[in-house]
């Protein structure tokens, strides 16, 4: 019997590169790059935390990029890059 395949590293906040290839920002659907304990969207730069190895890909918990004060403002600024 095959062993369960765990695609993220549970003991640290390092996301498996294979997993990272398929993860996208849930708002802009742009690719994510890991920077420390965060995953950063390539469009707009929303920063998603990684906690106990779990990428928290919830828009409401993302940190906004500098100079943007709310998600509404983010949506307006990047409206042409946010899919329907």
């Amino acid at each position: 019997m095959n062993q369960p395949v765990i695609t993220t590293k549970p003991q640290q906040n390092q996301i498996d590169p294979e997993m990272l290839k398929i993860l996208v920002c849930p708002l802009t659907r742009s690719e994510l790059k890991q920077q420390g304990d965060e995953l950063v969207g390539s469009v707009g730069g929303l920063r998603y935390p990684i906690r106990e190895g779990i990428p928290i890909l919830l828009v409401d918990e993302a940190k906004l990029p500098q100079g943007i004060n709310s998600l509404d403002e983010f949506r307006q600024k990047f409206a042409d890059q946010i899919p329907d």
């Binding site: 095959n2 395949v5 993220t8 997993m19 849930p26 659907r29 906690r51 779990i54 928290i56 890909l57």
Partner: protein, 253 residues
């Protein structure tokens, strides 16, 4: 492991609907990928891994360190066409917009890939009698739902009943075809005598519905749909378990 997020329900064991859903899924050779969402306690994801899939589990509950935290009411955080198999067991009835969720499942599965979805069967005989007597569908009475503040990440309970016909309608919009229907076990066997009334009369009635709209859809596809809806799984099954295929050349059973 202690449960971290008390606001979301999940089954902390391998259930009968998981067992039957697993039967609809072919073995993998280690190269195929699967997404299980909502992953609950991770039991079904573990079973898929034992079946040979590279499994990604996603859920808003963050119960396990190998999960991805994702909200099924929003865009799923996965790229288009990322998975050979996507499973969504007992999740859609908790979602505000089933149309959106199925669109997302269809987006992240590969062309030719498989989606297996389960939900309480609101078309079973128990549900039909319940609707006649109380106006509520199986597992969708007021007691099954929780009042929430919109926007708050909390499980609202069973708020979105999805029938076979509704699921099929939504699936078609996303190039999905229902290829198989199954259930885990019968609900209210005491209602079995109703089959003698419902099956012949229902098929007769449905025959008119099949023949009525020749301009909308081919009759063969509608006949296949009615074979599913008059199956014992739909008429008496507790859980509706549906396998769907994305794209052309799907094999129907």
């Amino acid at each position: 492991m202690p449960r971290k997020h008390p606001d979301f329900t999940h089954r902390d064991k391998f259930t009968t609907y998981m067992r039957e859903a697993l039967r609809l899924i072919p073995d993998a050779d280690g190269s195929q990928s699967a997404l299980d969402v909502p992953a609950g306690a991770g039991h079904f994801g573990d079973a898929l891994a034992q079946k040979g899939y590279k499994v990604t589990c996603a859920d808003i509950n963050r119960d396990r360190p190998d999960f991805v935290a994702a909200d099924l009411n929003k865009t799923l955080p996965f790229d288009d066409a990322s998975f050979d198999l996507v499973t969504c067991l007992e999740g859609i009835e908790h979602i505000l917009d089933p149309f959106h969720l199925i669109g997302e499942l269809a987006r992240v599965v590969k062309p030719g890939g498989q989606i297996v979805l389960s939900t309480p069967n609101v078309m079973n005989m128990h549900s039909r009698v319940s609707f006649l007597l109380t106006g509520t569908l199986y597992h969708h009475a007021p007691k099954n739902a929780t009042r929430i503040e919109l926007g708050q990440p909390r499980d609202p309970g069973h708020i979105s009943p999805v029938s076979y016909h509704q699921l099929r309608y939504i699936a078609q919009h996303h190039s999905l075809e229902i290829t198989a229907v199954a259930t885990d076990r019968f609900k209210k066997k005491m209602l079995l005598p109703l089959w003698l009334l419902v099956y012949p009369l229902g098929r007769l009635w449905a025959r008119g519905m099949i023949l009525a709209p020749p301009d909308r859809e081919d009759h063969a596809a509608l006949r296949r749909a009615y074979e599913h809806t008059f199956s014992m799984a739909i008429l008496f099954g507790r859980t509706m378990i549906v396998s769907m295929c994305k794209g052309q050349n799907c094999k129907t059973s």
